[in-house]
């Protein structure tokens, strides 16, 4: 599988079809991997794929706008790639997608993964198997039944730990705004002080911004140095998008994002006086 991937990368770079190949290489730590950017065909041997390849490499795509890049994508990352193409952050002809048949990496999402199919990729590495896993929303439903006071207490406890390193924003493939509200001073929506209330507002606004684009890839949760349970929020949002607007992010590259379109006749979605 790795050999196959290296051959493809080598060929793409040698024929100058792409300027960069974005993939995984072994890290200095044994058993760990890290993202790698290659522009020489002889570097292609570095490419690996194993259980530690957790990172969502789609995050680097909006940054290479003018150049062409090939990206190694698992089924879940592929949804993010589609979402970035849909929002015109990169042109489809400027990206070569090397889809990897993934059977799960060391991530919390993998036990409920239904996303390992690779539709619309340029190259497929390995054979895609049906993993027979099912989506599980029971934790969200359980949380929704709590009272507002309990919910608030839970999030206060979580965001008390937040150090506002913005890692969640920086690893998010759909958080690509060059001028983030968190850095803006006019208007200053967010104070730079790190405290529970401000941390919570930061995450509330960030979550609202990525609604309908978030593919629940869990990159934010994995990047969080203090282990805030952000997957609860991302899962809730994908549930809402499905329930309210019958929309699933990252399934195709041409549908309109739910908040940038509307139907005239949808009285039922919200109770409005």
């Amino acid at each position: 599988m790795e050999k196959e991937m290296q051959e493809i990368a080598k060929k793409l770079l040698a024929e100058k079809k792409v300027d960069w190949v974005i993939g995984y290489e072994n890290s200095f730590e044994p058993g760990a991997s890290r993202p790698v950017f290659m522009n020489k065909p002889e570097d292609a041997v570095k490419l690996v794929f194993n259980k530690s390849c957790v990172n969502n490499l789609a995050v680097y795509l909006p940054k290479i706008k003018k150049q062409k890049a090939a990206v190694v994508a698992k089924g879940c990352d592929l949804r993010s790639v589609r979402e970035i193409i849909k929002e015109h952050q990169i042109l489809r002809e400027n990206v070569v997608i090397i889809g990897v048949a993934c059977e799960g990496v060391e991530s919390s999402k993998c036990s409920t993964c239904t996303e390992n199919k690779l539709d619309g990729v340029d190259f497929t590495v390995g054979t895609v198997k049906d993993l027979g896993r099912k989506e599980d929303m029971s934790d969200i439903e359980k949380f929704e039944e709590l009272s507002s006071k309990e919910k608030e207490a839970f999030w206060n406890k979580e965001f008390e730990r937040c150090i506002r390193c913005y890692a969640c924003r920086n690893v998010c493939p759909v958080c690509y705004c060059p001028d983030c509200f968190a850095n803006r001073l006019m208007p200053e929506y967010l104070n730079k002080v790190v405290n529970t209330a401000e941390n919570k507002v930061f995450q509330q606004i960030r979550m609202q911004h990525v609604f309908g684009r978030c593919t629940d890839c869990r990159a934010c949760e994995e990047a969080c140095p203090v282990g805030i349970k952000l997957s609860l929020l991302t899962k809730k949002m994908s549930k809402d998008a499905k329930k309210l607007f019958n929309y699933e992010s990252g399934k195709d590259t041409d549908s309109r994002p739910p908040l940038s379109t509307f139907k005239v006749d949808e009285e039922g979605i919200a109770e409005i006086m």
């Binding site: 309990e150 739910p258 509307f262 979605i269 409005i272």
Partner: protein
């Protein structure tokens, strides 16, 4: 209705073309409604950035009301349809964060519905008060 003392902090975002004029008419028609609401005029509910709602709650608002033209009557044709979608998901998301559904409201009030505006504010105040009472227990 007897005028009670102002107790709550409710922020009302009203659209310039319908609800703001509607609120004006409420006063002209001498309809009495609770004074707990502070009104901010916005050009259209389509301009209503969800960040402003989050910010209002963060700065200590007990409740938020966003009001605009009826569907189909928007001065800019479609602004309120976009707001309807944003409202639907924002209400769910804020509830998940622990901001009770009773604190966040939206309504359609046209420029001729002065009475309805008074009713809407009464309802928002009752529900927000309801939340406040249950929360302080």
């Amino acid at each position: 209705m007897e005028v009670k003392e102002k107790k709550l902090n409710i922020v009302g975002f009203l659209c310039n073309w319908c609800s703001y004029a509607g609120a004006d008419l409420t006063g002209l028609g001498r309809n009495i409604y609770p004074a707990d609401i502070k009104i901010i005029r916005i050009p259209c509910t389509g301009r209503m950035d969800p960040m402003m709602v989050i910010e209002a709650f963060h700065k200590g608002a007990d409740g938020v009301l966003v009001s605009g033209c009826h569907p189909g009557d928007c001065h800019y044709s479609e602004g309120n349809y976009y707001w309807r979608r944003r409202y639907a998901h924002l209400k769910e998301l804020l509830d998940f964060f622990g901001i009770d559904k009773r604190r966040f409201h939206a309504s359609w009030v046209s420029a001729s519905e002065g009475k309805k505006f008074a009713e809407v504010v009464k309802k928002v105040v009752t529900e927000t008060q309801d939340w406040k009472d249950s929360n302080s227990k």
